[in-house]
Amino acid sequence: MTTSRRQFFGQAAAVSAGVALSAPAVEALAAEPAPAGLVDVVFEVNGERQKLRLDPRVTLLDALREQLGLVGTKKGCDRGQCGACTVHVDDRRVLSCLTLTATLQGKEVTTIEGIADGDDLHPVQRAFIDHDGFQCGFCTSGQIMSAVKVVEEREVRTDDQIREAMSGNICRCGAYPNILEAIKQAKAGDR
């Protein structure tokens, strides 16, 4: 096993004064209403209630990465062009870079960090490992979050339908054939 990046930075911290991965914890919101220009949003992320006070222009992607320390969701373009930032909002897949956090009041958000059951990987995560559905892995969080929904979508059956349904997720490493195999495995297990 390679040292995980988390562990590795834990070790590196000793020599280089505290490099860490997680962003600062969200401070509890004050009871008074948000100051001018900011909004309060209460929503659920991976089953946990989150209250954020933020600039209404902040995307869900930035809120996840910069405010909630959930950096598993990746920013490949920030413009809705690559799919690396795919998450689920109320059970539908969305591009978090095109979603304003302020619109999520009362919604449920699931990210790549929220689909495994402890040490037990989600079947789609397992299938990506079994079929080596990635190289660099930068697209993988988004691919898996998309694939989880594609596996659930019963009307998506043939290879061509899966391709169509996955066409919003770019993989520059070109792991597409293996991604397709992984989704087929997960679909077979799901039936």
């Binding site: 096993m1 988390r6 930075f9 490099v19 990465r65 790549i112 660099c136 070109g174």
Partner: protein
């Protein structure tokens, strides 16, 4: 007793020749693998880069006064703040860390801002006042050498001539052509990012996504005016590379800001900045003349090629040498004339991308082979097989190919594969897809072939090596190994390969891969398809030292066996500057493709229906990773064939986004049937042959050949876009 690797392969699982799970796989599927852009440090500030809007201009003044007043700004730095040498570069030190007096490409860094928030940095950048005297840019690679000199030595970066055999022989059948290759981008999905952490003694730690830690370090130290040991690099998670991380991007910038402010500094490029922030694949113009006898045997090949290096040299000299030495392709030709020119222009700087010079030449010579086949009335495969190189063939450089070169076999393998079922009536399987542009009308299906050659490892006498350390100790009552190198994992799976080698060599199943950093010696570059060869060789050699000390023991008590060694491949030679003769390359790799395309000839839409490949890899240390490399390389070749190009006008980039720079999606990527040959190279560790690049070379011309066959058009330029097919 000495255990041999063969005996041990069967003793532990996950050794070479198998496809064990990647050690980073679990983290990657859980979103827990920390890429450079995920790094965070308490107390860190953000760096941003002010870039030139002009491809060529004189800087008459830079005023940072107002920018410094923005609350939250810690520093605004210009060239005056670079304490060491303000010039760097992989081969020529010609590129400023921050521009002085002149900018030579759009996007050239001029100033840096360090601020408490990325938006503060942006606001401050807008307050930096730069005045320019805009100059007429040099943009034409064919005339650049005679145009305004952009550097003190003029605009010729390198001319590589090759003269072999007769220079004025004639032939019965002659075909000529002029070919163009557009500027391709690596477009790795994880944009450039790094975190620099200053230490109290004036040294700095940099966590960075790169392809070569030590050469980064050396260039950073020179620019900072620090001894090398005061600059420490650690590889962070890398979101793809493909050559685009061989040159420096923000490495020096982040360190400068960190040392200047005393704060940890994070820099992350957004997608648009990434297009300006790294070198691209050289666009090229290539003139070819092929002469053959009536049997199709090549008599001569003559070529003159231009490769546009853009504003700075980067790796242009080596790219030009590759294009030249591999310029006739995997064919036997006795009489060769090559003149390859790499030039400076005011276009974006170009350097390494997967295939490195061999891609540009490959598109041109394979197009020529098809033209020759047509002129002779031969099939494209037959004319290639007629001239195919084999082991013992002589390169245009005079170098004898001294291991397997199964060119004809690879072509026959792809030719003999079953063809896909006929054109479908399902719109999803037709060009245009669910845009519903056709139900089959106007669609023509054709087949194209190509084969390519790539040099593996660094060439022309470069003293290349890698360093590996293997440590063995007892953990929970059994032997456990750790392997440490500075060789960069960029997604290709080097971490898996290193584990596999240690398992096979030592019979120890539990192998930890330590973080890659500069506390160990140079691991060399993750490029030229060389890491499995060179770092793999180093790990194997370190294991041999450990094995001697282990002496067959399975319990070593409290002892720790810790061995570090450097490993080199056999030496190469410089090529003669007049004749281009010399044993320039370590090894050659070959791949062949057969493409099947459906073309909607009315609308100019192309769908690649199948893209089959055969490649010799010497020995597949990890068969699954080998196939992954072939798929990925083929996909990037497909991109160059039909969609990928950075379009410039007057030196300005017109499409720096994924909306306008298109990358193949899963819809564009056809099923691939792949044959992997394992013809061992006796000179290489385990007989391996570098894998990553060869498939990128032949997939482009195979696809274009099929489109030509479908349309009857000459198609001398890639990427082929719909308007090239419809003439509109």
């Amino acid at each position: 007793m000495t255990l041999t690797p063969a005996e041990l392969t069967s003793a532990v699982s996950g050794g070479i020749g198998t496809s064990p799970q990647r050690p980073d796989g679990n983290l990657k599927v859980r979103g827990e693998f920390a890429y450079a852009s995920d790094l965070w440090h308490e107390d860190m500030i953000w760096g941003a880069t002010l870039r030139s809007p002009h491809p060529y201009a004189r800087i008459t003044s830079v005023d940072i006064t107002e920018a410094l007043k923005v609350p939250g700004v810690y520093a605004v730095l210009t060239a005056d703040d670079v304490p060491g040498r303000n010039l760097y570069g992989l081969e020529h030190k010609d590129q400023p860390v921050l521009a002085v007096d002149v900018v030579r490409y759009q996007g050239e860094p001029i100033a840096l801002v360090g601020a408490d928030h990325p938006e503060t940095a942006l606001r401050a950048m807008k307050k930096i006042v730069v005045t320019y005297e805009v100059l007429e840019p040099v943009v034409d690679m064919e005339t650049a050498v005679d145009d305004t000199p952009l550097h003190p030595g003029g605009n010729l970066v390198r001319h590589v001539p090759i003269r072999r055999g007769s220079q004025d022989v004639t032939a019965e059948v002659v075909v000529t052509g002029r070919y163009e290759v557009g500027m391709q981008d690596q477009a790795f999905l994880g944009p450039e990012s790094g975190l620099a952490v200053p230490a109290s003694d004036g040294s700095v730690d940099l966590y960075i996504a790169t392809q070569w830690l030590h050469v980064d370090r050396d260039q950073i130290a020179a620019a900072l005016g620090l001894p090398q040991e005061q600059v420490r690099l650690t590889l962070s998670g890398v979101g793809g590379a493909f050559g685009g991380r061989e040159d420096l991007s923000m490495q020096v910038h982040a360190c400068l800001l960190a040392l200047h402010t005393g704060k940890p500094v994070k820099m992350v490029y957004n997608r648009e900045e990434s297009f300006y922030g790294h070198v691209h694949r050289h666009p090229a113009v290539l003139y070819y003349e092929h002469g053959a006898d009536h049997t199709g045997k090549l008599v001569y090949v003559r070529t003159r090629m231009y490769l546009d290096g853009g504003a700075y040299a980067s790796s242009t000299p080596a790219v030009v040498a590759n294009a030249a030495t591999l310029g006739v392709g995997p064919y036997e030709v006795d009489n060769v004339t090559v003149d390859a020119y790499g030039v400076y222009t005011n276009n974006p700087p170009c350097g390494a991308m997967r295939g490195f010079g061999a891609v540009q030449a490959g598109f041109a010579y394979e197009s020529q082979m098809d033209k020759l086949a047509e002129a002779l009335g031969m099939s494209p495969v037959d004319v290639r097989v007629r001239n195919a190189m084999t082991e013992g063939s002589v390169m245009p450089t005079g170098q004898v190919v001294d291991s397997a070169a199964p060119v004809a076999q690879l072509l026959k393998l792809v030719q003999d594969k079953p063809l896909p079922a006929g054109t479908s009536s399902d719109i999803r399987e037709l060009p245009g897809g669910v845009s519903n542009t056709t139900h089959g009308e106007g669609v023509v299906r054709r087949v194209g072939y190509a084969v390519g050659i790539k040099n593996i490892c660094f060439s022309e006498g470069y003293d290349d090596y890698s360093t590996a350390r293997v440590r063995v100790s007892m953990v929970n009552g059994s032997l456990s190994a750790a392997v440490h190198t500075a060789a960069c994992e960029v997604g290709q799976g080097l971490v898996t390969i290193m584990q596999q080698i240690v398992r096979t060599e030592l019979g120890i199943e539990r192998v930890t891969v330590l973080p890659m950093d500069t506390t160990i010696g140079n691991g060399g570059s993750t490029s030229a398809s060389r890491q499995t060869y060179v770092t793999g060789g180093a790990v194997k050699a370190a294991c041999a030292l450990v094995r001697d000390k282990l002496a067959g023991r399975t319990d070593i008590g409290d002892e720790v066996i810790d061995e570090t060694t450097e490993w080199r491949h056999r030496a190469t030679e410089a090529i003669d500057p007049v004749t281009g003769q010399g044993n320039a390359h370590v090894q050659y790799g070959f791949a062949a493709h057969r493409a099947v395309v459906d073309v909607d000839v009315d609308l100019g839409l192309v769908r690649v229906v199948a893209l089959d490949c055969a490649q010799d890899v010497g020995k597949a240390l990890n068969p699954q990773a080998v196939v992954g490399q072939i798929q990925g390389g083929s996909a990037q070749g497909l991109g160059l064939a039909v969609m990928e190009e950075i379009q410039t006008s007057g030196g300005k980039v017109r499409n720096p986004s994924f909306t306008d720079y298109l990358i193949p999606t899963v819809l564009d990527m056809p099923p691939m049937s792949i044959d992997v040959l394992e013809l061992a190279d006796p000179h290489a560790p385990y007989g391996i042959r570098g894998v990553g690049e060869p498939p990128t070379i032949s997939s482009t011309p195979a696809i274009v050949a099929a489109i030509r066959a479908a349309t009857g058009l000459a198609l001398t330029r890639v990427p082929v876009r719909p308007e090239h097919l419809t003439g509109t």
